[in-house]
């Protein structure tokens, strides 16, 4: 177990952890990464098309747990799952709207 992050100072905004399951070639995935970058939100991503073998199979199973259709991008923001580049939903989940 890791120690939880220290509580933010009063008035400081925090965003939930963000993870993107993406494809390196996909325009909606690129748009999603760009949006998060513009919102100065830190995120993790994995380009599933660039994986091979067991790693690829394991990640695909992970994606299917969040999004059974396994389409991209699948964006995880805290406990919310957003499928596709949906700017408004992404910003809402981040608490930016």
């Amino acid at each position: 177990m890791t120690e939880p992050d220290p509580k933010p100072a009063a008035g400081e905004k925090t965003t939930p952890p963000v993870k993107i399951y993406s494809l390196s070639t996909c325009s909606h995935c690129k748009a999603t990464k760009k949006l998060l970058g513009e919102c100065t939100v830190q995120y993790e991503f994995v380009d599933v098309d660039l994986l091979e073998g067991e790693e690829r199979r394991a990640i695909i199973e992970d994606v299917k747990k969040f999004n059974p259709r396994c389409s991209f991008p699948t964006v995880i923001i805290g406990d919310k799952v957003i499928v596709g580049y949906k700017e408004k939903e992404i910003k809402e989940a981040l608490g930016l709207e």
Binding site: L23, T25, S27, F72
Partner: protein
């Protein structure tokens, strides 16, 4: 073939059918480059916005332009990737909504 040549080749085939490239040229050339990359990687120009399995026969339905683009352009004015669109979509006469995945899950064999 480079992206410019692909653009011209596809434009001549698709425009008479009423399918146009998105006016956002940056987006279009990003997608055309991705199609050329997929052709190099897998041997066929599979959809850049979908996970390809590497088997041409199994991915036949998502070789660009995919079989779902006809229904998607009819319903939403755009294909899944926003590569091919209708004239009305380009002119902003219909709302630009996110095009949901139409490919049936059982086709996804990756």
């Amino acid at each position: 073939m480079n992206a410019e040549e692909l653009y011209e080749t596809m434009r001549k085939v698709q425009e008479p059918k009423g399918y146009y490239f998105n006016r956002d040229r940056e987006r279009v050339f990003e997608l055309l480059e991705a199609l050329l990359l997929n052709k190099k990687r897998y041997g066929y120009p599979g959809c850049p916005c979908r996970l390809l399995c590497g088997d041409r026969e199994k991915d036949r339905d998502i070789i660009c332009p995919c079989v779902y683009s006809v229904a998607d352009i009819a319903e939403y004015g755009s294909c899944y990737c926003n590569l091919y669109v209708s004239r009305e979509w380009n002119e902003g006469k219909i709302p630009r909504v996110y095009v949901p995945e139409r490919r049936p899950p059982e086709k996804m064999t990756f």
